[in-house]
Symmetry: C2
Subunit: 320 residues, 2 copies
């Protein structure tokens, strides 16, 4: 059996240069990491847990789990308009075989490189398989985008396309998919399996939205749930026509509105900033689609329409 | 069944004023928390996971689990000389009954008050019971104390007493002990059960040691393990006479040297700062005991003596 400290060394080796970056004063291996935050910036932090057999298929490829666990946590930073910088990773596993753990670290490292982050510490424990990632980003003071600033008359937008990750849930190869199989040279980066295992947090769109978006949230539990959270926090209502949703090829609109795991952003912006929003789409190459307009709240929340009739959308992912 | 978002509201209610403090710009309930770090300070972060039936008895009282999970993570900040400020808490539980979760949050809140921290966010997931806490503190720039600065001739010290939490492992009421039973008005705060469930991170000693200690580590896995880590990181050896260890009443020296969970600090300081160390003990009321002197490393690491003979000390807690 590999000892804990040998295993930590193997993981730090696998992380390679992603165990450090500008601003890491003390990295992995001490009681705590010591990190610089730029002057006049605020720290933005979020924590996410993925549990095997609940948030991903039991027995899935370790590198894919590593990539996805950092990506989904980082999506929360993108939704705040924060620049991602650091992460800690707590891994619980029944046996923690050295080869599994280093493949997991390889996936983490690949995601950390893609997002410009350093893995600065973590924890290893024996127990049922689960990963908890805490991510640290920063924004200029006062610039973070919350869920609560949308006002009646603001346009609600969604980035990218919806329903891709949801399609992957029906793919029987989901649990056997390694990162290598998702390499852009061998697979379409927009394929459902890539959308599920390698979500791309909308980091640049998020930072570009500072000073433009009045509210934002990421779509982790499904557009229907997350748009509802934004509207409740902002005390506005809205009505969305399913025909306006930007869909992944093959996705059906009702399913795409309910499906979780897309990690796109929903945000609000005043109508006079429409050109600025269109500029961001042009600069980043990410589609940004207006889906509805916020209204004074009457307590109705989000209503959905299809061909002019009200339709019910199932709630998004239930954690419980 | 309580919905996730009702449960989060109940938990935030139970946290009360500990969901905020100076510097919390955005607290629980958004995609991420937004936090201020004082100018010219560095961020210090650490993550710890406690798994039911491995790191504490399965079925233990929720409030005690909440207190202990924040305390053990915060001890790592104390070892760096950092001032604790914020924490995020990721709870995984098979059913997450609302009364269990609010008692857990009560315990967290009590610990957060004791340590001057705010619980700024977290995650709830259904799965096998485990808690991952990430703690955030700060130190003036360049002031954090690492494990690697001890030099030959420096004195090694230990705070408080050892072996108390280890004694609790033999107490059959360990798994039924609520925080109320450990209230100082009804129980000795130095009792083994209190040492186990309500460890008191040496926060003030840690911050006072900035500029004085050359290296520090907290005793989470046992003095034998953790002193070994400090000596390896600092490239020094030492020899400890068991007779010099400050023991909890009832603790046996060999067991106390090996036992985990004490959450005292071991630190090194140059001999010319002996008076400054004694001043800290006087100011804080925490016993600080010199246990040995660091020597040039010959690769021997830490050796243990009893009545002048070399003795073997079992390794501390094994995570694997």
């Amino acid at each position: 059996m590999t000892g804990e400290f040998d295993l930590i060394d193997a993981i730090i080796d696998a992380l390679g240069t992603t165990a450090t970056r500008d601003g890491v004063v003390v990295g992995p291996g001490d009681d705590a990491a010591v990190l610089a935050i730029p002057p006049n910036h605020e720290l933005v932090v979020s924590t996410d847990t993925l549990v095997a057999d609940r948030h991903y298929p039991d027995g899935a490829c370790a590198d894919a789990i590593g990539y996805r666990s950092l990506a989904v946590a980082t999506s929360d930073l993108a939704a705040m308009g924060a620049e991602p910088a650091y992460a800690t990773v707590a891994l619980t596993s029944p046996d923690l075989a050295a080869d599994w753990a280093t493949r997991f670290a390889d996936g983490l490292a690949q995601a950390a490189r893609d997002f410009g982050m350093a893995i600065v510490g973590g924890n290893l424990a024996r127990g049922p398989e689960a990963v908890t990632v805490t991510v640290f980003g920063h924004t200029p003071r006062g610039a973070a985008i919350t869920r609560s600033g949308a006002r009646p008359g603001h346009t609600l937008y969604v980035t990218g396309t919806l329903g891709g990750a949801g399609l992957a849930l029906g793919d029987e190869s989901l649990g056997e998919c390694s990162l290598a199989a998702l390499d852009p040279s061998s697979a379409d980066p927009g394929s459902p399996l890539a959308r599920y295992w390698k979500p791309q947090p909308r980091i640049t769109v998020g930072t570009d939205l500072r000073g433009i978006a009045s509210a934002a949230i990421d779509i982790s539990d499904g557009l229907s749930s997350d748009l509802g959270h934004l509207c409740r926090a902002s005390a506005v209502d809205c009505g969305v026509d399913l025909a306006r949703l930007p869909l992944c090829p093959g996705a059906e609109p009702t399913a795409a509105a309910a499906a979780g795991d897309d990690y796109e952003l929903v945000f609000a912006a005043p109508p006079e900033l429409e050109d600025a929003v269109e500029d961001i789409a042009r600069r980043t190459g990410v589609a940004i689609t207006p889906i509805c307009t916020a209204r004074e709240s009457t307590g109705a929340g989000v209503r959905w329409f299809h061909d002019g009739t009200v339709v019910d959308i199932p709630a998004g992912f239930r954690h419980f």
